[in-house]
């Protein structure tokens, strides 16, 4: 066997796993999205009707656009809260800095379903939030304002995905050479100027990366809206999930997921591009 053939054989062996378990499943759900269901049976009869049904029906398209808007809000809120936190941690030193970073990142590993459960309990009519607001006299009585609506989904997703935003912002701040900051101060720039001209631009790639990460995660999340969203907190993830459950229309669910996949890939690509362009 020639060296060339040997290299290709090795490639075939090594690539088998990712192709079989990652590429093939994605390909097969994309193919399924062109099929249709009749009488509870999936028919391999390639057509575009699922995509037509999705883009031609405002119920679905509107839900999709509404979900994109919701995810954007989650990202903006997460950055607004996460950036100052990451900045504050970055300004600390030694053990305090490491401990704070650990505290901020550890919720990433705390059970997702448990966070949902307790957040739902806290946002509810008899929840901690209402009791506190009534306790300090901000509200006269407990309010339905915080649970089983779109707002509840926004609050819950932000709490869950915030650490995903804090970490990359911190890491990009961390990468700023200390010399740049002292050089800026030596040249007479004030704290605000240094922040605006050096710290902010150099931490932008991490901020974008964190934001996009949170966006993609929020986009596909179907359990959060189901747990806290009630009837108004309907998202595209829930629509897809229902197609694989009660509605039993896998091809249609696959078609919506294909649109979701396209958006996710576009966002990941944009993130990669932004990160590579702004690298110091």
């Amino acid at each position: 066997m020639t060296g060339h053939a040997k290299r290709w054989l090795l490639f075939a062996v090594v690539a088998a796993l990712p192709v079989l378990f990652i590429l093939l499943p994605i390909a097969s759900f994309l193919i399924t999205s062109f099929f249709r269901v009749e009488g509870g049976v999936i028919l391999a009869d390639p057509n575009l009707s699922n995509y037509g049904a999705f883009f031609g029906n405002w119920t679905y398209l509107g839900t999709f656009l509404g979900t994109l808007w919701l995810c954007l809000q989650v990202v903006l809120l997460s950055i607004a809260l996460g950036y100052p936190v990451a900045w504050f941690i970055w300004r600390r030193s030694g053990t305090v800095r490491y401990a704070l970073l650990l505290l901020a990142v550890m919720p990433l590993f705390m059970s997702y379903i448990v966070k949902l459960y307790t957040l739902r309990a806290m946002l509810g009519l008899n929840g901690l939030l209402n009791q506190m607001l009534v306790g300090i006299g901000f509200l006269d009585g407990p309010s339905q304002f915080f649970l089983f609506n779109q707002r509840a989904v926004l609050i819950t997703m932000t709490v869950i995905y915030l650490p995903f935003v804090i970490l990359p912002i911190f890491l990009s701040l961390e990468r700023i050479p200390r010399g740049l900051l002292s050089a800026s101060a030596d040249l007479g720039a004030g704290a605000f100027d240094t922040f605006r001209r050096i710290v902010l631009p150099l931490s932008l790639p991490g901020t974008i990366a964190g934001g996009l990460f949170a966006f993609v995660l929020a986009l596909g999340d179907f359990v959060t809206p189901q747990m806290v969203g009630g009837t108004t907190g309907f998202t595209i993830g829930r629509v897809i999930w229902s197609q694989f459950g009660l509605a039993y229309n896998w091809p249609f669910g696959s078609a919506i997921s294909a649109v979701l996949l396209a958006v996710a890939l576009l966002i990941i690509g944009l993130g990669g591009y932004a990160a590579s362009r702004r690298r110091v």
């Binding site: 990712p18 590429l23 759900f29 490491y98 704070l100 949902l116 459960y117 901690l128 704290a191």
Partner: protein, 269 residues
């Protein structure tokens, strides 16, 4: 470094940090409290303090079954992901390996994509191939999900090893197998352990992929989710607290493992 102009933003950001951390940790603290006492109308009834909900948990066979399933899935998928991660990292180490970039993209894909896509693509595939859903399919799902982490840790460590190490080994007459066994693996050991801990942590918590491919099997997050639909009981809170303690312990372990490399990077600035 801190001048007067930075005092006020720093105080505000510090205040916000405390607030954010409180919000992030409130779920943990509240559920821990609820599992041992009853709270009525905003007052904690300390006299109701009891650990009995923890005791009843141990006689709940469906919870124990879910716990066993979660352990099996976590260990099997962590082991598989590390095995494949190491093999793939060795392959992509050489610059001129065929399809190097494409393989990397495929490895990272399930970690970057929304889990719903990974979950339903596995569901569609297993169903088309006639594979029954159960723990085996959950293990596959978790393996491809945590593979990215295992691969990343091992390949970064491999790339950091000086090539002279391998050359020296070869010069001393070691076979490729001996080089792997006595030179490469010992150097990779620490990243393998870290990868294993991270993989276990992620698998322990994974919910979205599992719900698509678990069939009638239950992992701990799925069992919790099912219990939550029914309502709030001290028993759920007890389970929640135990789950959180386990995740935090695993996360701390991972953080402690990652710290040395982190502070090395710090000092090299």
């Amino acid at each position: 470094m801190s001048s007067r102009g930075e005092r006020i933003p720093e105080i505000l950001a510090g205040f916000l940090t405390v607030l954010v951390l409180l919000v992030l940790y409130a779920p943990v603290l509240v559920s821990a409290l609820f599992s041992v006492v009853t709270i009525q109308r905003g007052t904690i009834l300390w006299e109701t303090f009891s650990l009995s909900s923890y005791a009843t948990l141990w006689s709940n066979s469906s919870v124990l079954q879910a716990l066993a399933n979660t352990a099996i899935v976590a260990i099997a998928s962590a082991a598989a992901a590390l095995l494949f991660g190491i093999a793939l990292a060795f392959y992509t180490r050489s610059e001129n390996a065929i399809g190097r970039r494409s393989i990397e993209v495929l490895i990272y894909l399930p970690f970057l994509l929304p889990p719903i896509v990974t979950g339903l693509s596995l569901l569609v595939t297993t169903s088309a191939l006639g594979v029954g859903r159960g723990l085996f399919t959950v293990i596959i799902g978790h393996t491809i999900f945590v593979l990215a982490v295992a691969y990343r840790l091992v390949s970064t460590r491999l790339a950091a090893l000086p090539p002279s190490l391998l050359e020296a080994s070869a010069d001393l007459g070691a076979s490729r197998w001996q080089t792997l066994r006595y030179v490469l693996l010992p150097h990779l050991a620490s990243s393998i352990v870290t990868g294993a801990i991270l993989a276990l942590t992620l698998s322990f918590d994974e919910t979205l992929i599992s719900t698509f491919v678990a069939g009638d099997q239950m992992t701990l997050p799925l069992r919790l989710w099912a219990m939550m639909r029914v309502g709030f009981t001290p028993e759920i809170n007890a389970l929640v607290t135990l789950v959180l303690i386990t995740s935090i312990a695993l996360a701390l372990l991972a953080a402690w493992r990652l710290k040395p490399s982190w502070s090395e990077a710090d000092s090299s600035d």
